[in-house]
Amino acid sequence: MQETRTDPRNPTVHDKLRRLLISQEGVLFLIMLVSVLFLATRTDKFLTVDNLLQQGRFMAEVGLIAIPMTYIIITGGIDLSVGSILGLTAIVLGWTWQELGFPLELAIITGITSGTIAGFVNGLFIVRVGVPPLIMTLATLALYRGLAEGISEARSARGYPEWFFQLGQGELLGIPTQLWLLIIAVIIFAIVLARTRLGRALYAIGNNETGARFSGLTVNRHLLFIYTFSGFMSAVAGYIFVSRVSTTRSDMGTGIELDVIAAVVLGGTSIFGGTGSIPGAIIGVVLIQLLKNGLVLTGVTSDATIVVIGSVLIFAILVNNFIQSRRNEGD
């Protein structure tokens, strides 16, 4: 959406390139490039195809959830319950399979359905009862995790058949299976956000919900959809998680909401709503993951890693704020 905010009377190729470079995503991309190059000089284990693909495997879950999170934050909302939905999905999957004896295929569907319903419930209360998203999802952050723990009774489910690991541990044409899924989802939902009526409505709601309503947009329906979508994507991430680590535990996905939100906000989505993009969010996800991995490989202790990542986040946000405010000067 950034490109529509300027005055493109006669944009030349040069103008377009410049605009891309100083866009929120462009700046972030440069920061990422610099970080990667720096880390590559510190250790030769970092910038290898194997390592990068491996990191792609790890970032799929955060990346998949970052998509609906971007949608939600653009509307001015938030979903804190994604990690708990991920955990709940994993537990329902494992429990229905192991304890209730569901066929594994059915258990997967049941798990993903429960996650989707969990998201729908969030949306329903936010839209119908008018509970602020922060409060509602903070409540279900606890509630869904509690459900997961109650169902699992601290037992973990393991011993899945070989085919089940294809998604989390397998490869397709040399690339981790879940990375394919992420790439396809990113492309589809980036286009949905940037080009379709749904995307336009989300930006309108985030900028001015009343104005959107007064223009005849079905605000409630859109909100209900994105929270349900968030539940669904968190559930898919839950399935991938179980498949990747071969076991089911009720504490899966704890704290993942913060990674997701950090990535989305780092990617230029305003926490107040109204602006943001999927490419930005994904660059945010990649940047955080590469920093984590690169720093560990260079031998930085994990405590120090967190400090460095935090500092880079603040730095990136400062640089971006600086550039964006220069760009909008005179507005």
Partner: protein, 511 residues
């Protein structure tokens, strides 16, 4: 009168894409009220922001008392004795009147080696300041949030005086005031003038200029047009200076062929502000809905538009009963609503003209689910041309447009939806004379040529009288009177608005 206290010369200011001020000048003498007028976008706001230190001019100079000064921020303007009265913006609702007046420069007292606020002295000084303004009914201990708009404004004025302001800038100070508050404001302004305070007074309402100001300066398109003594000019001259041409007919009303009933409301009920409302609007007809603020006009419009769905009663469109429970349904039935609160309800100001124009018709500019930028841009370009919206490009953010042009964008959004019924709530509030005449002309044309049914809510009786084929009057949530165009006069409408007991007060013509 002495020479100029503040003088601006050769002021030039550019923003990206806009040349806001071109070699403009302006001066204020000691103890005068100098009105600054012009259409929206004429550069008034930019000029006063330069005077109050918010913007710095690209060229030109400011002289205060014959000495050249530079104001690089609002604080320096304060120190130079220039204060601006904003609508509510400058106040803290959770703090008391006295705290607000002395925010940042409260009287201090030493206790145990610490400077602490001398609350008693502060309250006494606040009372004294208000007394100087002949305001004796305001408790300085009250929270500002509990005050009405008129009283908040008085607090703002007292605050400015507590800073020893010699020049007071008032930007549309009467926009949100009731009539009695306006009168009190006027007497405060006159009092200040007698004390030698200079006042820069910006208003859309020419009658206020004639009532209050000593001199008046007109800006148009960023250029200085002229300054007159108020006693040597008249409305016609000022209007032609403002718009650059004589507007022959402020309310161009075309005779329209009145067709079938488009909207019929039957016993609509949604207390407290919509009680048992029944009326009709026909094709080609403009029905004016008059009433005092709070009489339920907007609420009734919003019942029909589905924002506040009716609890009971019926809505018939082209003779068919329909159920409208949310705006999206109203839009589907061919109803458009140009709301009163343009910035909040009418527009999504952060978005572009293109995005706003297509907001209600996203389906028709899409191929399946995908929005076609080309179709959207064509739609927006059409709107810009047809409604002569002054904009750089359809991709301009609507925030940057003047009020009149913003309103045209809102109207274009609904025209794009090809409505059968268009509800216009205060369609020309806060927009300048030129844009106002254009919107009136457009309304007339839509009714006469396209057979559009228009329900127009307005607080301006001249507008109601001139534009309506039929006039409905609401009071306390009920329809209390109906007049034909021929029957209606200001007096009988005002009478109906205020109830039989109240005497009809002639409502001053506003521009």
């Amino acid at each position: 009168m002495t020479d100029a206290l503040l003088e601006l010369r050769g002021i030039d200011k550019r923003f990206p894409g806009v040349h806001a001020l071109k070699d403009a000048r302006f001066d204020v003498r000691r103890g005068e009220v100098h009105a600054l007028i012009g259409e929206n976008g004429a550069g008034k706001s930019t000029l006063i922001k330069i005077v109050s230190g918010v913007y710095q001019p690209d060229k030109g100079e400011l002289q205060l008392d014959g000495r050249r000064i530079e104001l690089s921020n609002p604080r320096e303007a304060h120190l130079a004795g220039i204060a601006t009265i904003y609508q509510e913006l400058g106040l803290y609702p959770e703090l008391s009147v006295a705290e607000n007046i002395f925010m940042g420069h409260a009287p201090k007292i030493k206790r145990l080696g610490f400077d602490i606020i001398d609350w008693e002295a502060m309250e006494r000084s606040a009372e004294a300041l208000l007394a100087e303004l002949n305001i004796d009914n305001l408790d300085v201990g009250l929270k500002v949030g509990a005050l009405n708009v008129g009283n908040r404004q008085r607090v703002e004025i007292a605050k400015a005086l507590s800073l020893d302001a010699q020049i007071l800038i008032m930007d549309e100070p009467t926009a949100a005031l009731t009539e009695s508050d306006v009168e009190q404001l006027f007497s405060i302004v006159r009092l200040l003038r007698e004390r030698g305070v200079s006042i820069i007074y910006i208003s859309h309402r020419l009658n206020e200029v004639f009532e209050l100001a000593d001199r008046v300066t007109v800006l148009r398109d960023g250029e200085y047009i002229g300054t007159h003594d108020v006693s040597n000019t008249n409305e016609t001259e000022l209007i032609s200076m403002m718009v650059g041409r004589t507007i022959e007919n402020l309310f161009p009303k075309q005779a329209a062929k009145i067709g079938d009933v488009v909207l019929e409301a039957r016993n609509l009920q949604r207390p407290p502000l919509t009680r048992d409302i029944s009326f009709t609007v026909r094709a080609g007809e403009i029905v004016g809905l008059a009433g005092l603020v709070g009489s339920g006009r907007s609420e009734t419009a919003q019942v029909i538009f589905g924002v506040l769905p009716a609890e009971s009663g019926e809505i018939l469109l082209n003779g068919e009963a329909v159920k409208i429970t949310r705006p999206s349904e109203a839009v589907d039935y061919g109803i458009g609503y140009v709301p009163e609160d343009r910035g909040h309800q009418g527009l999504i100001r952060e978005m572009t003209i293109r995005e706003n124009t297509s907001m209600a018709v996203l389906e028709s500019v899409s191929n399946r689910s995908f929005i076609s930028r080309a179709k959207e841009r064509a739609l927006a370009n059409d709107a810009i041309r047809q409604l002569s919206i002054r904009a750089i490009s359809p991709d301009q953010v609507t925030n940057k447009l003047s009020g009149g042009n913003q309103q045209k964008v809102v109207v274009s959004k609904w025209l794009a939806s090809n409505p059968k019924l268009l509800i216009m709530d205060e369609p020309t509030r806060g927009i300048d004379v030129g844009a106002k005449a254009e919107i009136h002309r457009l309304m007339s044309r839509l009714a006469a040529e396209d057979g559009l049914a228009i329900l127009m809510i307005s607080s301006e009786l001249p507008e109601i009288l001139a534009m309506s084929d039929r006039i409905l009057v609401m009071r306390e949530g009920r329809l209390v009177a109906e007049f034909t165009r021929e029957q209606a006069t200001q007096e009988i409408i005002a009478h109906a608005m205020m109830g039989a007991s109240a005497t009809a007060k002639s409502v001053g013509a506003t521009l």
